[in-house]
Subunit: 326 residues, 2 copies
């Protein structure tokens, strides 16, 4: 069976790290068909559209999508792409790697971020010259779907349970609905949960990240807290992510376009290659996924390393070393 | 001139650290009249009301209020109390102290958090069985008032400018209005600003807190990011805060009721005493304020220390040592 993979490099180093990840996937004995498409600042400058309809349609029909990064147009690209794959959960592992400088090397977290609503539902109005409003939306159905996924995830990946992170002491109705729904689904599945207020989580995760494991949270909380965890493991550079929907999914590194080093061939491809490993797992290739993970970890630990990690290797060197280790 | 100070110890260690701070204020040659009032879980259990009307009225008429902590009723107590003093800005310094374990000892930040609106404006609805909404409110007038305060603050306290932290790439109208308004007030005053997305801030402040100084942000962003900074300096235990309004203000430690150690007389009074130092500054006693700050710092550095900092001193010992050093 051929898997069609949409490849959307985007801007900046997205154009370097995405091909690197494709190279790794191509080195495996799996039948992929890669179809490339444009998105981001460059295509916006050319055509006036950051996300051309054919790119959207491709992501909406491919088995999986690999996305690099977009510049100023990031929100105009990534938010509709999440919709294109009907993604209801954003999986964001944040793990420190041996040998990589980290504020909290013991960090090993996975965020399961609601990916459709909250403030991202985005109904905004300027009611008067003075007053603007945004309608934050939380539904029982989206919370349920996320919770079902979270329960399967902790079972399949051998976790003890998950933390529900929210701000229901202030957003009583909306985050209250989120918390109660997620908790009752977990209870039905016999999955253990604890509740943590999002502000308290921010303090506690810095003091002792090992007290947390899988974190289930609303959209904006997931955005900010996973970036916080990124800070604890040494930056966005190594973090992969998966936007999963019922029938397809989109994989992207958490980092941006890194305009300061774009075009030099020295971007670190690790986060995108780990994202490709998540893609492999999503398609059912658990062994290949584990092999890619291991090859990336071995390369992070033993080199070659790109300049962001203190080395002087190129993107191509690192990619070749990872493929060698497969 | 007599200054009337409302004293609201609340629950748990609030009942121990608030009297300690009052003792420090009493040791100064300033004419204070302290009036105590109830709030929190205990009074709720007794009377059904976490914030009795007379406590609200007292805070709304006193020159300043010193608040300890409240338990499960925290939101029912602190949010109306902020309204009682018409507080439009929450000042939250997050600073590591010499000799105190901190993830990032170089952290020295001040958050100026919008204190009236955002998601805290809190218009929530359960539209259907499935759908709940919250109307987030951002006004030009509140953003302006905060920005005017921030400009005075950076001038008076000798800072180079401030960072505007927001999520206007997603909340375009509301956080866009916040960002544009704050920036244009700063421009008028010739105060330098930079813009940082709140998720990027979370990463960057972990990696290198020294790149930031004064941070101006919406209400929930301030809640979460100041608690993140608390994590970087070693926990909520030492952080003071001031809720400032046009005519009065409320001062409180950022920590909670610490039920595990409440009643033992070993709570660390430092955060509440530093909050009292902020109260002194607010009332114009700059020298006394600096003296209390210095005495607390000297005591943190040289002891005696409470058990949370590895010592075996009591609240009373630490308070006496601080008064001795004045
Ligand atoms: C670019 C932006 C809209 C996006 C988000 O807020 O989700 C980004 O921060 C992310 O986390 O992928
Ligand atoms: C208790 C809660 C309502 C409050 C807030 O969210 O503002 C607290 O977290 C704080 O920061 O003072």
């Amino acid at each position: 069976m051929t898997h069609q993979i949409a490849v959307i490099p985007g801007d900046g180093i997205g154009r370097e790290v995405t091909p690197a990840a494709v190279e790794v996937l191509e080195s495996l004995e799996i039948d992929f068909e890669f179809v490339e498409a444009d998105a981001g600042d460059a295509v916006q400058a050319e055509t006036g559209e950051a996300l051309p309809q054919e790119t959207y349609d491709l992501a909406a029909s491919a088995d999986a999508t690999l996305f690099g990064a977009a510049g100023d147009t990031a929100a105009d690209v990534i938010l509709p792409l999440r919709t294109a794959v009907d993604s209801f959960v954003n999986i964001r592992p944040a793990k420190a790697y041996p040998g990589i400088d980290a504020v909290r090397p013991e960090t090993d977290l996975v965020f399961l971020r609601e990916n459709t609503e909250g403030v991202y539902a985005g109904h905004e109005d300027r009611l008067t010259q003075d007053v603007s409003t945004l309608t934050r939306v939380v539904t029982e159905s989206a919370s349920e779907r996320l919770a079902e996924f979270a329960c399967e995830y902790v079972d399949g990946d051998d976790h003890d349970g998950f933390s529900i992170v929210h701000k229901a002491n202030v957003m009583r109705e909306t985050d209250g609905l989120f918390r109660d729904t997620v908790k009752s689904v977990a209870d039905e599945h016999g999955v253990e949960t604890e509740e943590v207020l999002m502000d308290a989580f921010a303090t506690r995760v810095c003091l002792d990240p090992e007290q947390f494991d899988v974190v289930v949270c609303p959209n904006l909380a997931g955005d900010v807290l996973s970036d916080l965890a990124a800070g604890l493991v040494g930056g966005l550079g190594l973090l992969p992510s998966a936007n999963v929907g019922p029938d397809r999914a989109l994989f992207e590194p958490v980092h941006g376009t890194a305009p300061d080093i774009a075009g030099q061939g020295i971007a670190n491809p690790a986060a995108t290659i780990i994202s490709a490993a998540m893609l492999l797992k999503y398609l059912g290739y658990d062994e290949a996924s584990a092999a890619v993970h291991d090859a990336v970890e071995a390369t992070l630990e033993n080199g070659p390393r790109t300049p962001d990690l203190g080395g002087d290797a190129t993107t191509a060197d690192v990619t070749a070393a990872i493929i060698d280790r497969l």
